[in-house]
Subunit: 168 residues, 2 copies
Amino acid sequence: MELAEGKLKFIEAWGKLGSEWGINRTMAQVHALLLVSADALTTEDIMSELNISRGNANMNLRDLIGWGLIEKQHKPGERKEYFFADKNTWNIARQVAKERKKRELDPIIKLLNELSEAKGDDKSRDFKTFKTTVKDINKLAKNVNKTLETMLKAEESWFWSSIFKIFK
Amino acid sequence: MELAEGKLKFIEAWGKLGSEWGINRTMAQVHALLLVSADALTTEDIMSELNISRGNANMNLRDLIGWGLIEKQHKPGERKEYFFADKNTWNIARQVAKERKKRELDPIIKLLNELSEAKGDDKSRDFKTFKTTVKDINKLAKNVNKTLETMLKAEESWFWSSIFKIFK
DNA sequence: CTAATCTTTCAAAAACTACTGAATAAACAA
DNA sequence: TTGTTTATTCAGTAGTTTTTGAAAGATTAG
């Protein structure tokens, strides 16, 4: 396989993976393109590599900045903006975990806490099932939360060696 | 908060969470409804609780069976089918992890292995970036893979107590 | 066998999400 | 200031995914 073909396959796969995890396919593709580009790219570069419009490129670039996955760069003497991706895989994983935790896990934990206060007939089978389900999911969510918090603070090598120490 | 209201909120939240993670909103809602129902429900029950059509209910019920999250039940003397969800949260988490690993992680690891064979000019900066990025993502993917494999085999209590022994 | 009941399928419609491209805004140079 | 270049916005369009509902298919009873 040649580099050019490999890049295309990587971009396609990253886009597909993103869309399977609720992330806009094009946004994931822009990210993939920047991940395999040694130099920072302009909006025009991205538009022509991925065959997308200016508006689409701009919107996804800004979203990627919002996720903390890419940054703008200004070259001296040039007016246009260049973009480059953080290539450190552990940083990427942490950044995604951090954003999704904030956007999704934190709100659901808040709701589960409220739901566990719900009142009802203690003899009703449905009520008991509701209570138990909410309680159990809450417990799981809090465990995931604690693990993520550790991961967000950790160094990659420490994190994995710790994991595998217990799984040996 | 009353039980009825709590159920509705739970169903809504579970549906939203699902859709944020690439799972059909209605499928997640059907799952949520079964999770908070003590007794098995018929297709009709689900149609009327969630205000969805027969076709939609049927399709999502079958998908949930495919994910291993719910099961059919037959009541003696009755012709219609009843559905109930496994309420064990750890089983749910494992089942989802297992399916997504099979559908998404395994294929991407296969591709990454192929991509790391790609040939190119060893002096090209783009080629070096490509190689490094692919190699690093591959390493991360394999670590996640190993961790998931351990999780799939593990008992809940063992898994979390092991995690927290290290991450305390 | 036929009738009754329940399940599954799938083409068409509806709903939703993403994309385009032209207009507008902003930044800078002269 | 005006002209030039680049960035942003957003209404309309295109594309995708989900849902409906009626028809076809199963299954069981008599």
